[in-house]
Symmetry: C2
């Protein structure tokens, strides 16, 4: 597999937007444009769905001007557009399923695509795994690589995922500001801040890192890795009120009671996405009503919502630098080392000083598994994170990667 495979490359983005997915795209483009084995670098609009419709762009053409790549690095969301398409089983016997894969490989052949890079989260790695299985059955030489991306930080095998650091920096920065905001009045009040993360509490955990620096952080932090108990929550609030009148709480959207019901269930829409995930909304709102009924004090709920995943104006420099690097490395190992069917990943060598290496691993061992926050990162009471968790997260939010501004507004690229 170490022979030079000469041909064209295609790159796509999939799943939810992040502040770093375009930095990874820029890394792939840089890597591909400077690799002798790769001729044309195509971008697929809206992921695999757009590729099927042959909605391709010539990225070498667009990024002749290097300064545009720099603007791409700082632009949030998926510049090529995204999709949420679940691929059929490549071992399926159904005619329509086979027709799908036939169509994909027809397009590969038509455009002489020999390198396929897919930037995304768990569901996107599923796509990479399935295309790899089908490619193995076909007599068509192609190298298929997954490049991780998700604010949820829940992919297995990698120390962390590109996009997490920037989302964590937004959440932790805004939390230091909300804590200051809530401290101005002397009246008893509870502010409940809801953070994204359905099954893994990584992003909610980042709300609490200030405590390691002696900065006022939320009093309480609740992750979906622990069963949520309303009684214990009320007890923790009572203890917190003994210290000061303004309590700030960070909760993950995905916290559940011991019986499995989501805390926000009463206020959720009940619909599910194509992967069967339930849409959640209103976990903080549900807690707001419960705390108001119990304590009778002022209670507010704040959903950090979309800004936490697209807040490129406060992106982590570490995250953007790493995102560019991992995109370029995916190209290098595919083109120079013949790697295929794998995902590039980060291996942490040490936290202090922060040192990491980029490795790669079979995507079949990665897709469809969720990496949760481990026990040693959550305190015994299940209502805050530990110092070890802070030491894990802090290097990932280090450094500020500011976009350029014009007349007061950030300059973002539109492809």
């Amino acid at each position: 597999m170490n022979g030079k495979l000469i041909g064209n490359a295609i790159v796509g983005q999939s799943g939810g937007p992040t502040a770093a997915i375009n930095a990874t795209l820029a890394g792939v483009i840089k890597g591909a444009l400077s690799n002798g084995a790769i001729k044309t670098v195509y971008g697929m609009r809206n992921g695999i769905e757009g590729m099927l419709a042959e909605r391709l762009v010539d990225l070498g053409d667009i990024f002749l001007d290097e300064s545009k790549l720099d603007m791409l690095i700082h632009t949030p969301a998926a510049a090529l557009g995204s999709c949420r398409k679940k691929l059929p089983d490549p071992k399926s016997e159904k005619a329509e399923d086979m027709a799908f894969f036939e169509k994909v490989f027809e397009i590969f052949k038509k455009y002489d695509i020999r390198y396929f890079f897919y930037i995304g989260g768990n569901d996107s790695m599923d796509t990479v795994a399935k295309l790899s299985v089908y490619a193995a059955k076909k007599d068509y030489d192609i190298r298929i690589m997954g490049v991780p991306k998700t604010i949820d930080n829940d992919l297995v095998a990698t120390d962390h995922t590109p996009g997490f650091g920037s989302a964590a920096k937004f959440v932790s920065t805004v939390m230091t500001e909300i804590v200051r905001d809530c401290a101005v009045y002397t009246t008893k009040a509870v502010t409940i801040v809801e953070v994204m993360g359905r099954d893994a509490g990584w992003l909610t955990a980042s709300a609490g890192v200030g405590k390691a620096l002696g900065i006022d952080a939320p009093d309480l932090v609740y992750l979906p890795e622990r069963d949520f108990s309303m009684e214990e929550f009320f007890a923790s609030l009572r203890t917190a009120f003994e210290k000061h009148p303004n309590i700030v709480v960070a909760v993950s959207e995905g916290i559940r009671f011991a019986d499995g019901r989501y805390v926000g269930e009463g206020t959720q829409s009940g619909s599910t996405d194509v992967f069967g995930h339930k849409y959640l909304a209103g976990t903080a709102k549900a807690l707001e009503l419960a705390v108001k009924a119990e304590f009778g004090c002022k209670v507010r709920s704040v959903e950090l919502n979309l800004p936490q995943r697209c807040g490129a104006h406060i992106a982590s420099k570490t995250d953007l630098d790493e995102s560019v690097a991992i995109g370029a490395e995916a190209v290098r190992v595919a083109a120079d080392e013949g790697v295929s069917g794998e995902m590039v990943l980060f291996e942490r060598i040490s936290s202090t000083p922060y040192v990491y290496e980029i490795k790669h691993k079979k995507v079949s061992e990665i897709a469809n598994a969720v990496r949760c926050v481990p026990d040693e990162y959550i305190n015994a009471e299940g209502n805050h994170i530990t110092d070890a968790c802070c030491e894990y997260i802090l290097p990932l939010i280090e450094g500020e990667a500011y976009p350029e501004y014009e007349r007061g507004l950030p300059k973002y690229i539109v492809l």
Copy 2:
């Protein structure tokens, strides 16, 4: 009134927090520490309420180290704490009302307070006006000054208010990011973003300024200055869908139907604050449900909530510079020109280039009036802002005033 009045000064903050109210405090401190007429500079904790409890701090002591003042400038929310206290009528005949004012002036006398600076919004100017009326009845020489502050930008007499520019920069920056985020999918979807502003739509208007720079901005912008019609909103959405599948809408929390009912009324808590203002919540949520029922497509609502008023990490440099300047000028006119019972304010000389002057005016002509967005800043359809509005807002969000960071988190001062 031009004689030198020698004595101590006291400064307080009141009303809702902003990202610039501490910059104004820093300006007052700088001005007072360098003015020969002023000896000790006291800060009152939690506004007039804290002063009554003699919860005072010696600010000259705290800010001996100049670098601390710089950190104060970049710190969001009210470092001295705030309050929402409505003062009684100074012309009242009631014994308890008179006792209140007697107590205030006893404290003035006890600490030899000859300068009183109160940084706040509309309700705080009411405090300044009432203290000034009472001071005029008393044989006690004191100069009382109001320094404006509010993200709502709704004070009359001034071109704009300190704090508005930074909140507007947060809102407009995050909107450019939300628009990018929403553009990634090809499926029909509406995203409704709710911005603070009960009676005046200034902050919601700032969500739309990107259009003047050719940046993708929200498709529709609704201010409380216009009656809201659900039928016209649906019609505007239909027109917008003809251009692209992803519609982004910015709405003020305070939009009302022609009959006066708040759009978010169904979801509001019904309670009021001490000034009789209704608490609103869920305007975007109410619209989300209505649009979902009408169009059957994916609809999301996003409340920008607290982060828009405390987002010091993306403060406007123009706003922070002006906020320091107006605080220092309040001290100068009080001490050097004998001005009292007035509010310092901005007068705009031109927008291109942006030039302003700081003036002052009787606070009795300012308090308890609301300055709304004028007709010429809202388009004929009532669903977006005009170019003239953009030209008004853009200079106020110009420049980035970043705080210092340590290990990835902003360094904010706690007094």
